[in-house]
Amino acid sequence: MSEAKVKNPKLDRRDFVSDQAVRWCPGCGDYAILAQTQKVFPDLGLDKEKIVFISGIGCSSRFPYYMNTYGFHTIHGRAPAIASGVKLANPDLSVWVITGDGDALSIGGNHTIHLLRRNLDVNVMLFNNRIYGLTKGQYSPTSELGKITKSTPLGSLDRPFNPLALALGSHASFVARAIDRETAHLQSMIQRAHSHKGSSYVEIYQNCNIFNDKAFAPMTDRETKSDTVLWLEDKKPLLFGAEMNKGIIVDGNTPKVVELGDKWSADDLLVHDETDWTIAMMLSHFTYQDDFPNPIGVFYCVDEPIYEVMLDEQIKFAIKNKGKGDIQALLDGADNWVVE
């Protein structure tokens, strides 16, 4: 997204609402994510016509229909690759990928990791409900081991991906997590994703109340959430708990949960640093581990070379070097001859 001139600074939420009836199940977490997106987009300072939403297939992937911007609901798993083409063709566009845990991590796993590796300035919003919603409830690559679903009546046998560890292992330059129910925070993550130059990868925990209800309930229920969620803030110590009395230390190389008090004080805690890959990795590993709180927020954010910027430079360099391409000269070639 290069500097877009804001022609209409008065856009509001309603400008981003399309005329299509929203077709998710009543109660689906997708509604909240859509609402927060529509709410925060006017603040991004983008011209509406420069925004493109690209999705694959899944419940979540219907999202583009509901945004009154350019949109393309494509095929299962391929949104990151399509978005790459969209962005490379016109780097001026603000390109958003909407995808699900099946779409992005099962069939589309390869495109996802390659997008992150290439670091195109594309923003990925991965709706993780830990289930295949659209196909009516099979387990997904983020479902917990032993998950009982239609396709695994005796429990699933594969260990889940940790979507953020995978992204970090692929050299993503911006990695974050949000929750459908934490609306203000979700908005801020969307904003951060937008401002980051390079691929932004935001996992959003999303409740599928039909096929995997309450998957994230411990993290959203009032009684439990302060103990299960670790809110990440850059340069702040990793504190959590209802009384902010628990924290994360690193013992050797191993992170541990401690209670503050006699033995430990806030000064002993690991201080979050969004530019530290090792910390990000460590934090990503907390997920699916019962004895750790689950981190929410920006795990990692660094500047890395951006694919389309370098491509543009290469084109400029080539033109400078060789002169702007002359098609007739190219057709003529180096060795030709004339028949009279």
Binding site: K7, S18, Q20, D47, E49, K50, I51, V52, F53, I54, I57, P64, Y65, N68, T69, Y70, G71, F72, H73, T74, I75, R78, A81, I82, A83, S84, G85, V86, K87, L88, A89, N90, D92, L93, N110, H111, H114, L311, Q314, I315, F317, A318, I319, N321, K322, G323, K324, G325, I327, Q328, L330, L331, D332, G333, D335, N336, W337, V338, V339, E340
Partner: protein, 611 residues
């Protein structure tokens, strides 16, 4: 003894040697020189396997065949007149195809016991009578180049590598060709390593002088200029012509060319060539796989670029689902299939035409895609250009079929004047404040829908792979709408028929036999037709470039012939189509041998049928 110079109409030379012997390079140089001399020509490079085999083995033999003539020719030739065999394995593999009494030139030094054994020879074929019925020239090329380079400060190995230049020089002498173009080329190629320029030029001269000096050759040959139409010519191969044709299309449409693809033999050179066009603003994207190759191209088209992808059979198979998306999204896209031998990995470096049905039908649902096939290496340019035209005009993916033979084969090509090519109007949609925007409204004539690209104020809209409602483009599950949209998509493709010129019949408009061909078999079919006509047979030839849609006038033509034969390098794909569409009893001539037809295969078959 003064050496006689004979005139010949045409010569077929096959260079053969180990993969490390530089035969492709030698052949290409001979070709370029021959082009400049003004002959008509046609080439057939042939490298046997994807993996480099051990030196000296049969599997490691690489060959390059070149047909040049003072006449208008159309094929790389059925049987070589001359075989240059740089080692025993090359002789073993290629001898049987040499014309009776043909010329053999070998590097005698390579006929060591070890190499003979690797080639599976029990005794030395140069001595045991194997080659007695041929005109054999056994020359110690390795010895001679090492002598020529004596005193130079380069390794013996490097010197030995110049023996292909020796062979080339000798052939230049025999066929009366100038050395200069090759010397110039060597100068450019090794600009940074003058010692290599030097040694290669020495070897080249040594070969030439060997012919001049050693009195073993009974004749030199002259092949006059061919009577090509006036104009500027160059030699061109199919993959290069395809690449430039795509570029030309994008320039004429004034939209950037985006290429998304993944390397695969024999299509990779299109990626390589386009990657070298950065100064034209061409964006090449080497994707993680073929699916990302095509989907990134679709994304680029959605954004208003000309999206292109190319691959060969196995890679095209992977693109099937995405092609369906481009069909229903009705976005411009060019898909190039440089066909190779199948099924599966098959014969990666060999040619075949067995992916026609894949192009026509290789997707789920009714997903019609126009298909055009190039007929010669140079025609790849025009076929690619026309594919771009149709893709943009009709908002549709278009298949361009070429094949391994066209891709690597070359011919003299009359260079078009770029300004004479038609311009292409991308006709992007623009905001019209008076009217609401409907992404699936249609142009009355073409049935094309508007191409409204992101960045255009007021045309924000959403498309996708679910069936769309006519006009609005909203998702629709309505039964009648689905039927209607299916018909619209089909009709839109059929409308291209209006852009296809009248079918040319080579020969009379009726007769005993029509040879109907498509794609890279054009040359063999045309040569066969000419031979049959010269024999007084009532045979005509029709060649198809567009296969979907088929030309309007094809049906009328077909029924005027008593017999129809369709030679294809597959088991009868066009045959099936023609039989189904026109209910004519077309007969197939079907070879799947990884190489082009010989014109004689076709001649023989036709004579078998019509006597």
């Amino acid at each position: 003894m003064s050496i006689e110079t004979k005139n010949l109409d045409k010569v077929v030379i096959r260079f053969a040697g180990d993969s490390g012997d530089g035969m492709q390079l030698t052949g290409t140089r001979f070709t370029e020189t021959t082009a400049i001399v003004g002959n008509d020509l046609s080439t057939l490079p042939d490298y046997p396997a994807e993996i480099r085999a051990p030196a000296g083995s049969l599997a490691g033999v690489s060959a390059f065949q070149l047909h040049f003539s003072s006449k208008d020719i159309h094929t790389p030739g059925d049987t070589p007149d001359v075989l240059v065999a740089m080692n025993p394995a090359a002789l073993k593999v290629h001898l049987s195809e040499l014309i009776a009494g043909g010329i053999i030139i070998v590097n005698e030094n390579a006929f060591s016991p070890k190499n003979l054994k690797l080639a599976g020879y029990e005794s030395n074929p140069l001595e045991d009578g194997t080659v007695d019925s041929y005109e054999i020239y056994s020359i110690q090329m390795s010895t001679l180049v090492s002598k020529a380079c004596e005193g130079m400060d380069i390794s013996p190995k490097t010197v030995d590598r110049t023996k292909n230049m020796f062979a080339l020089g000798l052939l230049y002498w025999i066929y009366n060709r100038p050395l200069e173009p090759t010397i110039q080329w060597l100068g450019k190629k090794f600009a940074k390593r003058p010692e290599l320029v030097d040694s290669n030029v020495k070897a080249l001269n040594a070969g030439y002088n060997y012919g001049e000096t050693v009195e073993i050759f009974s004749a030199r040959y002259n092949v006059d200029k061919a009577p090509l139409a006036a104009g500027k010519y160059r030699n061109i191969n199919g993959n290069y012509a395809t690449s430039v044709g795509l570029l030309a299309g994008s320039i004429k449409a004034d939209i950037p060319l985006f290429y998304g693809g993944y390397p695969i033999t024999p299509a990779s050179d299109i990626l390589h060539t386009l990657a070298s066009f950065r100064h034209f603003g061409v964006k090449t994207f080497q994707a993680e796989d073929e699916i990302a190759g095509i989907t990134s191209a679709i994304g680029s088209s959605f954004s208003g670029n000309l999206g292109v992808t190319a691959s060969s059979g196995p890679g095209i198979a992977l693109k099937a689902e995405a092609i369906g998306l481009a069909v229903i999204a009705e976005l411009p896209l060019v898909i190039v299939n440089v066909q190779r031998g199948g099924p599966s990995t098959g014969l990666p470096t060999k040619t075949e035409q067995a992916d026609l049905f894949q192009a026509l039908y290789g997707r789920n649902g009714e997903a019609p895609v126009p298909v055009i096939a190039a007929q010669t290496p140079g025609d790849c340019f025009y076929a690619a250009f026309e594919a771009c035209q149709a893709a943009i005009k009709y908002r549709t993916p278009v298949f361009l079929l070429t094949d391994g033979y066209l891709a690597n084969g070359s011919e003299p090509w009359s260079i078009p004047n770029f300004d004479d090519l038609p311009s292409i109007d991308p006709n992007f949609a623009e905001q019209n404040d008076d009217l609401p925007f409907f992404p699936y409204s249609r142009d009355k004539k073409t049935l094309a829908r508007p191409w409204a690209i992101p960045g255009t104020v007021g045309l924000e809209h959403r498309i996708g792979g679910l069936e769309k409602e006519d006009v609005t483009g909203n998702v629709s599950y309505d039964p009648e709408n689905h039927h209607k949209m299916t018909e619209l998509r089909e009709q839109k493709v059929q409308n291209i028929v209006n852009d296809i010129p009248k079918t040319q019949v080579l020969g009379k408009n009726s007769g005993d036999m029509l040879i109907l061909s498509w794609g890279g078999t054009y040359g063999s079919c045309r040569s066969a037709t000419e031979r049959l006509q010269n024999d007084g047979k009532k045979v005509s030839h029709v060649h198809l470039r567009w296969i979907n849609p088929l030309p309007k006038d094809l049906g009328e033509i077909l029924i005027r012939f008593k017999n129809i034969i369709i030679p294809e390098l597959n088991m009868g794909q066009l045959s099936k189509l023609i039989r189904a569409d026109y209910l004519v009893d077309a007969v197939g001539l079907n070879h799947v041998k990884g190489r082009p037809f010989k014109a004689s295969d076709i001649v023989d078959k036709v004579k078998e049928i019509i006597g």
